[in-house]
């Protein structure tokens, strides 16, 4: 195995991100080849975490752009600070500066509000990690705009000219697959698919991240969550849900699972009314034992 990949795996584990070879290899390649990394997978498998841990690993700043429908260049790139601009014009009313001079001042960096993408490009010092989160939520126009930024790492602001990145940021894009991303965007990125973790891996995650959790309880929690992912549910629990649940059970001083305590804490890992009823039926059918001892 490449030493650098092993090092990434070690460092990620030290940051309490339980990783595997595919993840470490992709993260390494993204930094080594300088290509954006597109991370796909079910909600709650730790896609966003990768960017955070990567920033820590590299000792770089993390700049995050959360995507949503209707997100446009203005909100993602830059905006002018209108209030300050207007104030500046008012204060300078008596000045004799020409209109061209006034305009040059008004549209200078002092009045520029940098949004995440511009912040990432103009960042000084160590190149930051740029996280473009849930890119599938944005629309096609924005995706096309991203392509431009991701290939050149430069933007043109009409009033200021072209701004080029001194050093390319490391880019991580995540997608929940609510929408198919364009072929062009996919092909510009390295691709990483994160599946739900195996029983063993999830057990390690739960035990690493939730202190004070007994061995038996950790196994039972992991077993139930893993079994739930095999059931037909509207919303399957992710790793975040297992962790929430484990933390809640620790707070309740539970040391093993019984039907009563599961019923009380179901809200930690089920987020849908229909799923609640399905779980309730399972409990009444006495399926808890089998679920809790699930191991792969």
């Amino acid at each position: 195995m490449n030493d650098e990949i092993r090092r990434i795996q070690d460092v990620m584990e030290r940051e309490a991100y339980i990783t595997d070879r595919q993840i470490a290899t992709s993260v390494f390649l993204a930094t080594a080849l300088g290509k954006p990394l597109l991370v796909e997978g079910h909600p709650g498998v730790g896609k966003t975490e990768i960017a955070k841990v990567l920033a820590q690993t590299l000792g770089a700043d993390l700049i995050r752009l959360q995507c949503y429908e209707g997100l446009d260049a203005t909100t993602a790139l830059y905006e002018w600070n209108y209030q300050r601009q207007l104030l500046h014009i008012k204060l300078g009313e008596s000045s004799t500066a020409s209109m061209a001079e006034q305009e040059a001042t008004l549209f200078s960096e002092a009045f520029l509000l940098k949004r995440p993408l511009l912040a990432a490009i103009t960042h000084h010092g160590k190149p930051p990690v740029l996280l473009i989160d849930e890119v599938d939520r944005s629309d096609e126009e924005f995706e096309a705009f991203l392509l431009e930024i991701l290939s050149d790492f430069q933007v043109t602001i009409p009033e200021l000219g072209t701004i080029r990145a001194e050093a390319r940021p490391t880019v991580v894009l995540t997608s929940n697959r609510t929408r198919e991303l364009s072929e062009a965007l996919r092909r510009r990125c390295l691709y990483l698919w994160i599946d739900y973790p195996s029983f063993e891996k999830e057990l390690r995650i739960v035990r690493t991240k939730v202190p004070g959790l007994g061995e038996q309880l950790a196994r039972e929690i992991t077993g139930v969550v893993q079994a739930l992912r095999k059931m037909r549910l509207t919303k399957h629990p992710g790793i975040a849900e297992s962790l929430d649940w484990a933390a809640a059970l620790v707070a309740l001083h539970a040391d093993h699972l019984d039907e009563e305590v599961v019923r009380e804490t179901m809200g930690c890992f089920l987020k849908d009314d229909g799923d609640f009823q399905r779980m309730e039926r399972e409990l009444q059918g006495g399926a808890l034992q089998a679920m809790a001892s699930f191991a792969g």
């Binding site: 209707g70 601009q85 014009i89 691709y191």
Partner: protein, 391 residues
């Protein structure tokens, strides 16, 4: 056509020749399996191999996979191709003779669908005197077929004012959606600060003229895929009349019919009376009243008309879900359709029956990839649909 020879020059100095050959062969094998792997991918593949431990077979596989493959669905095909191309024993790629011209994809001949004994389209075109519905044999293997049939057997083909009214309401609903994006406008309610400040420069910073902006109108479009197989005989007549009305009211609608194959009906329905449309349909659509292969039809739709579906498209499938095709194919096609469209609505005429459960194989396979399953057996059911036609 871009060729692998172009690649050989680019990274050739840093990578051993047999490694290069292996990556190129791998990309070729992937292309044979329908995966886009261009010279750009080959170059990245070789670059990746320059930085990982090439004696470690698994690492090589993982690295090449994240470089060459861009979606989860292609992982299996990649792993298979990798097994073929990379020699197992040494971890290192074996010297591989470059294969000859690209293999042709050989498609297995489609099995001829069994034609059920049903009436032809000719029956539809008889003067509708209201009793046609009673005399037609329906292939639907459902207990409540006669009940559902009665739902609309008394609709006369000419009397389509009700359909037109419904189509108008749907068109209005689809046209009024506002996008979250803004555009400049003289009469908007919101002030556009950017342009206002710009304009105020001319007047010494006094914003005399306020610039305004409005929400852009979102262009929602509709694609209807209508099952015209034997089991849908009666419903299809009714649903096509509805689609005909819609087609002539709303510009951004596309209509398709399918049974074993897919036919585009849009030009046949547009601008002519329903009765004339029917005559053309009978000529153009060969497989009316045949068996159903929903999965293959939807896949065919996605392949042949990829531009018709995006996030602003509502796809309406009108079918009873009786499918003689492969359920896995149906499931895959539905998943692809669902991911690419804004909303997938399945109208199932059998849902009009009291004891309907979506338990046919086809319905089961499609169910996870549908946003809404609703009845479509009468006009009232279609009217109720309106409030779901929003993105």
């Amino acid at each position: 056509m871009p060729d692998e020879r172009a690649v050989a020059h680019a990274p050739g100095d840093t990578a051993p020749a047999d490694l290069l050959a292996a990556v190129v062969t791998l990309c070729r094998t992937l292309r044979d399996r329908g995966i886009v792997a261009t010279p750009a991918e080959s170059i990245d593949g070789v670059r990746a191999l320059g930085v990982v431990d090439i004696a470690d077979r698994d690492e090589v596989r993982l690295a090449l996979r994240s470089v060459l493959i861009h979606r989860r669905e292609d992982f299996d095909a990649f792993d298979e191709a990798f097994r073929e191309v990379w020699s197992i024993e040494r971890g290192l790629p074996a010297p591989i003779p470059l294969p000859g011209p690209r293999r042709e994809m050989v498609k297995p001949p489609a099995p001829a669908p069994a034609r059920p004994p049903t009436v032809s389209l000719q029956n539809w075109m008889k003067p509708s005197d209201g009793d046609a519905g009673d005399s037609i044999t329906v292939r639907a293997a459902s207990d409540n077929e006669s009940l559902v049939a009665r739902d609309f057997s008394h609709y006369a083909a000419e009397d389509d004012e009700a359909f037109r009214a419904l189509a108008r309401r749907i068109a209005r609903r689809l046209s009024l959606r506002r996008s979250r994006r803004w555009k400049a406008s003289r009469r908007g309610r919101r002030i556009d600060l950017r342009r206002t400040v710009r304009a105020s420069l001319r007047t010494g910073g006094n914003p005399i003229a306020l610039e305004r902006r409005v929400r852009k109108v979102r262009r929602t479009s509709l694609v209807a895929l209508c099952d015209v197989s034997g089991s849908m005989e009666l419903y299809a007549r009714f649903l096509l009349q509805f689609l005909h009305a819609l087609q002539n009211t709303f510009a951004r609608v596309e209509t398709f019919a399918f049974a074993t194959r897919l036919s585009r009906l849009t030009p046949l329905l547009r601008g002519v009376r329903y009765r004339e449309s029917l005559r053309d349909l009978g000529r153009e659509v060969q497989d009316f009243s045949g068996g159903t292969r929903i999965g293959a039809s939807i896949r065919g739709f996605l392949d042949r008309y990829p531009k018709l579906v995006d996030r602003r498209t509502i796809v309406v499938i009108l079918s009873d879900g009786w499918d003689v095709g492969d359920p896995a194919l149906l499931s895959d096609a539905m998943q692809a359709l669902h991911r690419r469209s804004g909303r997938v609505i399945w109208l199932n005429p059998l849902m009009g029956g009291a004891d309907f459960t979506p338990d046919t194989r086809g319905m089961q396979a499609a169910l996870p990839h549908i946003d809404l399953l609703a009845p479509g057996h009468n006009l009232e059911a279609l009217q109720r649909l309106i409030r779901h036609l929003a993105l």
